[in-house]
């Protein structure tokens, strides 16, 4: 039988996930609740992931109606569904081979949808041209990140390939990098300045990599995950200058670009900033931009729909990229269709528009409300400090754990914020993610939880958190 030491060292090197461990604890609790064991709560509330539907956000009706009609084309001919739904389903089915969502698609995805994405990007970026051939439809943005990293990382080489990644950051991307045998080169975002990215810190990080690994890329997340920080144009220009000088490939994770709600905050894409900086930068900096249907207003995580746009890659490298993508079957068709619905939403004047507008406005209002409410409540609790949440899907407040709690955590053999989350889960049924999962400055502790939730669920989350936290701080004072 295979034993641990025979397993791929790259797989073993993927970091242990504290959140997975908490997930197992949550499963155990759910099992006990099912068996009728009495607890101070009736169910587990899981706000640990960025999973809007799980936490009470409803899917958009138009999206689900079109997908249902594509899955079961008999609906296209019935008058059960609005005419614009049926028309869109018909158009999308026409773009699928054999008119069926059950057919394999071309390697880069359904061509019509590649074109929709390209058009969307160009419109979003004030006319900066986008070429469909540079677009690959993928299984979520994570699917794309994994593929592009496997292109960049030399798995068996020495020194190891390094990628600069933000702290705090996105743990799944870091795990993907480790799984390929790559090295993480952390750069710290500045919590006091609302999680700003600072160029000096990038320089420090790059310097630290000397002699340790071979850095080839810089991974930025904008708007930030978990921070929600929205980069200023000036900061983005500095980043572009930096990658150009240091010959780094720029990986821009823009998955939450549609979750921007802070006053005065505005998302601008790396592609646009790069293009508007003009040559030679605009012709030479290599960029991969990622997006998906998982967040934004759709929240369709489970459909696994996303794309990557590749800019300024050498044609030979593009050939290899295509080959790499072709070894795997393309993304699920329902995911690809969801991408089309994201980049080409219905317009005013269409019959389904009033409902679409109502649903999306509700989500927008909810986000603004949630962000405000979270910072308000948490900042009123001693032992919590929460930066204003201007965008993204999460709150990432700092928890100032008393030394006795830190000591207790050490005794139990877990990171202090995991300890906090574990107790929180046990006492209230609330599952949040510990800061150690996402990275943080030594000696600081945080929790992350999703704020793309229904208003009711958020109130419940804040209620549980406030009550637990107050008691916890008292117990460990």
């Amino acid at each position: 039988m295979s034993i641990l030491r025979e397993i791929s060292p790259k797989v073993r090197n993927i970091r242990h996930s504290e959140l997975l461990a908490l997930g197992r604890q949550a499963c155990g609790i759910k099992e006990k609740l099912k068996q009728g064991v009495r607890k101070p709560y009736k169910e587990v509330i899981d706000v640990s992931g960025g999973d809007p539907h799980r936490t009470g956000v409803k899917p958009l009706s138009f999206v689900r109606q079109v997908l249902a009609a594509c899955l079961y084309p008999q609906l296209v001919n019935s008058d059960k569904l609005p005419v614009d739904v049926r028309q869109r389903a018909q158009r999308l089915l026409g773009a699928c081979k054999g008119g069926s969502v059950g057919s394999y698609t071309l390697t880069q995805g359904i061509m019509d949808i590649q074109q929709s994405v390209s058009k969307f990007i160009s419109q979003r970026d004030g006319g900066v041209p986008s070429v469909p051939e540079n677009i690959f439809l993928t299984a979520g943005s994570q699917g794309a990140i994994m593929k592009i990293l496997s292109l960049l990382v030399n798995s068996e080489g020495t020194p190891r390939t390094g990628v600069l990644t933000p702290v705090p950051g996105y743990s799944s991307a870091n795990m993907a990098l480790e799984g390929l045998g790559g090295a993480i080169v952390p750069y710290y975002l500045n919590e006091e300045l609302c999680w700003e990215l600072q160029i000096d810190e990038l320089r420090r990080a790059l310097q630290s990599a000397k002699g340790v690994c071979n850095p080839v890329a810089l991974y930025v997340i904008n708007p930030g995950n978990p921070t929600g920080h929205i980069q200023s144009r000036k900061s983005m220009e500095e980043v572009i200058q930096f990658v150009s000088q240091e010959k780094l490939f720029l990986l821009a994770d823009e998955t939450v670009q549609d979750n921007v709600f802070g006053e005065g905050s505005e998302f601008v894409s790396y592609k646009r900033v790069l293009a508007e900086m003009g040559p030679p930068l605009s012709d030479t900096v290599e960029l991969a931009s990622f997006h998906s249907v998982s967040k934004g207003l759709m929240g369709e995580c489970g459909l696994r729909g996303g794309y990557v746009e590749l800019v300024n890659l050498d044609p030979e490298v593009m050939n290899h990229t295509y080959t790499l993508f072709s070894t795997d079957s393309s993304a699920a068709v329902t995911g690809q269709l969801a991408v089309d619905l994201m980049v080409d939403p219905i317009q005013p004047g269409d019959p389904s528009y009033p409902l679409y507008y109502k649903e999306t406005q509700y989500i927008r209002t909810m986000q603004v409300h949630n962000a405000k409410r979270v910072t308000e409540v948490l900042n009123s609790l001693p032992g919590f400090s929460c930066q204003p949440v201007k965008g993204g899907a999460f709150a990432f407040p700092r928890v100032h754990l008393p030394p006795r709690a830190i000591q207790k955590a050490k005794e139990e053999g877990m990171p202090p914020d995991h300890f906090y989350c574990s107790r929180l889960l046990e006492d209230t049924g609330l599952l949040v993610s510990p800061g150690c999962e996402h990275g943080q400055r030594e000696g600081t502790h945080h929790i992350r939880f999703c704020i793309m939730t229904s208003v009711d669920i958020l109130e419940e989350v804040l209620r549980c958190l406030a009550r637990f936290h107050t008691q916890f701080m008292k117990d460990f004072f």
Binding site: I7, I14, H53, T55, A68, Q142
Partner: protein, 436 residues
């Protein structure tokens, strides 16, 4: 390719996608009941929620129940079942898990020749060592365990063979392994401590009346506890083949047996990196393992549609074999299962020379010419692997019977023309050259 989706599958997934349809009289109760069950297992009762990385729990349970029933009671634990993004995701994940070592201790992966090129591509990407074992074309592509043993011994010189991949029914060959053969393979794996990967995506595509699908798991069980409790086995299935043909859903699962708990934990950790398989594909997989039962309203139509597809495939398998075998210079083994014909083609020496001059495999030249002259696209045998000096192409038997007949006639005509062209008398040029 014109095959119609199974109505029931599409109804259930559509209901999951847009639950308002649960109130519609246009959908049968059994479809609604299944959709409800699936949605109960999803976060927020939505297909749009991430599932656990191993998949939706109730679907894993349904799959375990299906496996147990298929294998006539051999116990299946849902904790060993993982939903995957098509079978490919599962296959790739297991290989990623198992490749280790350096130099002479680098993991060797035994794969059949001819094979489905996902395996060779994965081995290449993971920098594992490819260890070929040849299926016997003269014995209807049978797997001879002595071939396995010989290749294993040879490979031990330069790598550590650890994994044995079998495709049953075969792709591209279509052969269906008999029970005795599977036993011999499992015994070999037991002796040499090999991890067996059994690609069984075509388990519902068996056409030859003399053949029957035997799952590797069931055969292993019947070999007794010493084997059943020790041989590491991963079996793969998918929504892409069978009678549903839902390739675009990217639905699939794997069942893993006898994996060390610590190794399994590593597998779960690794799978969590890709988050989860598409939930709509998981839903489709659930319907396939939990089809309408005889007393349910959709049973009649479901059975009718399923049999239509499978009967047509069986008919086309026979017809393809017969027509191809009627062509001088083409020899086609019986298509016992799967979805392909993989005939051997005679390529005249002059064509081989021309191909070599163009730096391409001779069967690639053949296929390019076929495409150019008839619009028919098939894949050269060199893409799947074949014995040195033999040439093949793989075609699917999926087009409608009428289209397939026309297509095969065109292939026949092309082949005869091709033979004639390259077996023609020497040209004057060649004559002159010889005289000087």
């Amino acid at each position: 390719m014109g095959q119609q989706p199974i109505t029931f599958v599409r109804q259930v997934v559509a209901l999951c996608c847009f639950p308002e349809l649960l109130d519609s009289p246009g959908f049968p109760d059994d479809a609604k009941q299944r959709a409800q069950r699936i949605l109960q297992g999803c976060g927020g009762r939505s297909l749009g929620s991430y599932s656990a990385s191993q998949g939706v729990e109730c679907i894993r349970q349904d799959i375990a129940a299906y496996i147990q029933q298929r294998d006539q009671g051999v116990p299946a634990d849902w904790d060993n079942v993982f939903l995957t993004t098509g079978a490919s995701d599962g296959i790739m994940s297991i290989l990623k898990l198992l490749v280790s070592g350096q130099g002479e201790s680098r993991t060797g992966v035994m794969i059949p020749i001819p094979q489905y090129p996902l395996y060779s591509a994965a081995i290449s990407e993971l920098e594992a060592v490819q260890v070929n074992y040849y299926l016997d074309e003269d014995e209807c592509w049978a797997l001879d365990v002595r071939e396995l043993q010989q290749r294993y011994q040879d490979a031990k010189q330069h790598c550590q063979p650890r994994v044995l991949c079998i495709i049953n029914p075969g792709n591209p060959t279509g052969q269906v392994q008999d029970k005795k053969c599977i036993e011999e393979v499992l015994h070999f794996a037991y002796e040499e401590n090999l991890f067996v990967m059994s690609d069984e995506v075509y388990q519902d595509n068996v056409y030859s009346p003399d053949c029957q699908f035997h799952s590797f798991k069931k055969v292993l069980y019947e070999m007794g506890p010493e084997y059943f409790n020790s041989v590491e086995l991963a079996s793969f299935h998918s929504t892409s083949k069978g009678y549903t043909g839902e390739c675009g859903f990217r639905g699939g699962y794997m069942e893993v047996l006898n994996m060390d708990p610590e190794v399994k934990a590593q597998l779960v950790k690794m799978l969590s990196v890709r988050l989860c398989p598409p939930v709509s594909g998981q839903a489709a997989m659930d319907v396939i393992v939990n089809p309408p039962k005889p007393h349910e309203p959709s049973y009649a139509q479901f059975t009718k549609e399923k049999n239509l597809v499978l009967d047509a495939l069986a008919q086309k398998a026979k017809m393809t074999e017969e027509i191809l075998n009627s062509v001088p210079g083409i020899k086609c083994n019986p298509v016992q299962g799967a979805m392909y014909a993989f005939p051997q083609i005679f390529i005249p020496p002059r064509a081989i020379q021309e191909a070599q001059a163009l730096s391409m495999a001779p069967d690639m030249l053949y296929c390019l010419r076929l495409l150019e002259e008839t619009g028919i696209c098939v894949v050269p045998g060199s893409g799947f692997g074949q014995r040195e000096g033999t040439f093949h192409f793989r075609m699917t038997i999926l087009p409608s019977t009428e289209k397939l007949k026309i297509l095969l006639t065109k292939v026949k005509d092309f082949h005869l023309k091709f033979l004639q062209e390259y077996s023609a008398q020497e040209t004057t040029q060649e004559n002159q050259h010889r005289e000087t």
